[in-house]
Assembly symmetry: C2
Homo-oligomer: 485 residues x 2
């Protein structure tokens, strides 16, 4: 190398000044500074540090297995056989487990789950959707498998992004939202259009607010897509059928592409609440809607009674998508090769679980029911205990896996947070973590009305632990309020 | 919905005219029109159509299991136990399999592979790299797990993209290339800078050509990154140590970020060829390089003797990356949650296989050796038979999983292809598929010197089948030449 060459190497090629500016704008609070602090505290505890608690409780992420939920036996038995087909000869497994594993292996060209199986899964997904939606047809050609739902959501947003300045694609997202949406929009350089959920009415979606947000946005961008999360994350509401109809009508009138994030479709707990898929409601509204409104809806293996976050299984169904765009979508997903095959296999089992009369059916139903019943109990418990705390107000957790209570933060604490350069609810959550070991995510990471403060806490800890945790939150909040009043 | 509303819905929201223009520019030949035609033919065969062949042989994708390669027993046994931990009590499995599965499950917070395990894998990867590279240290903090190598490659390119017009990031890629690179650059809106590999010298990389490409590119963009694929895809060359040193010196002089795609690191067949990692060579060149040159290198579970494409396991190591950029990288990958956990577990087993003395060691070594030996045999066979065909010239397949022979296409065939609006090698490959059932990818999908034609064919079919396949290619080529002469 020449002297000259060495001299020309003035510094790093890649610095925060010279990196992709869109990536810098990405925020993702669910695994942000609060989680880094949680990991630090865990390490301090391991090294024998004395704290007023003995473990960090991660109520920040919706990972059910991490909180002790057991996997569904049938799913895992089939996956074990797919991994190691020698077990097909073992007497340890029921016949239906073996026949399922055999079917999945056969769908893989070479008989190994080392490769794609796609087609059989897409057919089974279509069958599941048809049955879920009371017989409304579903075409396997409209099903795209994905690496969890996140992957599919980002892919659809990516297709929709174009233009600059006033013609730049705008995407309407709920506030509070799951921050995948804001992160993806920042990365793609699209405009985020906030519509606020109505906290006073149990986080319901209000069409007037949708219209306000849209009219405002049209002044500076081109709104093209409306994102819905139902049941809601982080807000836990379940949309009524009437509300879904209104949203579909609104999308039709305003020429918006609909994205329905329905990953919590089995997680509905409150009396009188039911899950209605956007697809079903769309089709029941008649051909003037079902033949025109473009819809992508998303599901995954990570939530519901399964909780299999690690397998990254997912799918989306697209309805009324232009056929040339579908060809572009197919091309785009091909570049990334296939979604993980164990996740595909798991997705297949989720959409096609054991049937009555099959050997695994009773156990499957028992496990599924127990998990959903226990989640419903924990949802109720969370709401009840939090609402006993002066200065905390928690809406009913109608569905999904989170509570998102509003917290009153005394003015003096708000001031102290500002002096530290922290959002007030980040200040609150950091203190909660340091004093109790409980890790929750500040509401500012999801978005909230100016001047209000919240945190997101999962309902996933086991009931006994959850009671203790909620009691600790209560004591912390009362102490915090006293300290800063 | 108002009449007005209905009238306003003039057409689809998302059409090829209104979609993301960068996505439209993406091309991915490996699963392009040739594969769609192959699927059509398979369906025709299923329906009883009469063809001069009875099956389609997919020599287009590097999926070893699809071509009949058996999975490594140890890997699959451990994965089965991780899926269904009840099997830990079964006498069917050797002790080292059980202890490995136990270790992986323990690394998962809740004891289920339904969630992230990351930390233990990153430590094991660092240990593997250190051992592979003769003791050069590797810090687990520099390891990022990924969903196959593709995911990590796109992520690094994404970090590097910024600017517009003359300041827009340019990325140097080999031609021929694996089309993930061109696809990712198109999608990200970066400038693709082609440097041509030297076909006359066994597809070697020539520094003069690198310099030519760089100087040209500086006239219209900002070249910041140099991508290397070693062993080469689709070209099968293995870089010499001297060449790697030259490339590193070039990157240092010209201030380029290095990306080394090393997913075929165990696939080296030719006498006298060895795999040298960029990391190792960089560190052996001394601190003036090892302390400055920014490098990201990539590996996965999909190739080598493993061939586990479906698990989407992978990692990258970053060296000399700015610490603030690393924080941005960590944030970016967190948004997509974790790579598939079964893939992480598999990656862990790949970097930490059975050791001598452990019960599974002998079988593991036998399987690994047999696979690599057979691939070496098939590499040789492919080169030899193709070179017996007048009008086909095939460089030695020194490594990886593909041959990329140059084919002479008669002028009359070139004309006929042009009339059909097809690239001449696409015309050739379509005819090959229609007449023989053999599916290969036209060279134009990877890039090639103007006026030359190639195809990429995997060496993955079992030896007996490969011989028949090569014989058929020979006959086809001779017939094709005669027909169009």
């Amino acid at each position: 190398m020449s002297e000259n060459g060495l001299a020309s190497r003035r510094g790093k090629v890649l610095t925060t000044d010279t990196m992709n500016p869109s990536v810098k704008k990405v925020e993702y609070a669910v695994r942000g500074p609060i989680v880094q602090r949680a990991v630090e505290i865990e390490n301090e505890l391991k090294k024998g540090a004395k704290k007023p608690f003995s473990e960090v409780i991660k109520a920040n992420i919706g990972d059910a297995h991490a909180m002790g939920q057991q996997p569904v036996t049938f799913f895992r038995q089939v996956l074990a056989l797919c991994s190691y087909p020698e077990l097909l000869n073992s007497p340890l497994f029921p016949e239906d487990v073996k026949s399922r594993a055999g079917r999945i292996l056969q769908s893989c060209g070479g008989g190994s789950i080392g490769e794609t199986l796609q087609f059989c899964v897409r057919q089974d997904v279509a069958q599941y959707i048809k049955q879920r939606d009371g017989g409304i047809p579903c075409n396997p050609d409209n099903i795209y498998l994905s690496t969890g739902a996140s992957d599919a959501i980002v892919t659809i947003l990516k297709l929709l992004v174009c233009g600059e300045g006033r013609t730049c694609t705008g995407a309407m997202i709920p506030i509070p939202q799951y921050p995948l949406y804001s992160a993806a929009l920042a990365e793609l350089g699209a405009v985020q259009i906030n519509y606020y959920l109505d906290e006073e009415n149990c986080w319901s979606l209000n069409i007037g607010e949708l219209r306000r947000a849209l009219v405002d946005a049209r002044k500076h961008c081109n709104p093209r897509v409306l994102c819905i999360i139902n049941p809601g994350n982080p807000t836990g509401q379940v949309q009524s059928r009437k509300c879904i109809e209104d949203v579909i009508r609104f999308a039709a009138e305003e020429n918006l592409f609909l994205m329905a994030d329905e990953v919590y479709q089995d997680n509905v707990y409150a009396d009188g609440c039911h899950f209605h898929s956007f697809k079903k409601v769309l089709f029941e509204m008649g051909p003037q809607y079902s033949n025109t409104v473009e819809l992508a809806s998303f599901h995954s293996t990570s939530k519901c009674y399964m909780g299999e976050c690690g397998f990254r299984g997912g799918y989306m169904e697209v309805v009324n998508m232009d056929s040339d765009v579908k060809a572009q979508l197919t091309k785009l997903v091909s570049v990334r090769l296939c979604p993980p095959v164990p996740g595909q296999a798991l997705m297949d089992l989720v959409v096609n679980p054991p049937k009555p009369g099959e050997p695994s059916h009773a156990t499957f139903m028992k496990e599924r029911t127990a998990t959903l019943r226990s989640l419903a109990e924990r949802a109720k418990l969370t709401e009840q205990i939090l609402n006993t705390v002066p200065g905390i107000h928690c809406n009913p957790v109608q569905g999904a896996m989170y509570s998102f209570p509003q917290i009153t933060i005394p003015e003096r604490a708000v001031q102290e947070a500002k002096e530290k350069g922290q959002a007030p609810d980040m200040f609150y959550c950091m203190k909660l973590l340091d004093e109790t070991g409980i890790c929750v995510v500040p509401g500012s990471g999801f978005g909230q009305k100016e001047g209000t403060y919240h945190f997101r806490m999962t309902i996933l800890p086991p009931t006994d632990k959850l009671k203790i945790l909620l009691q600790k939150v209560k004591e912390f909040h009362m102490g915090f309020t006293e300290q800063f009043s």
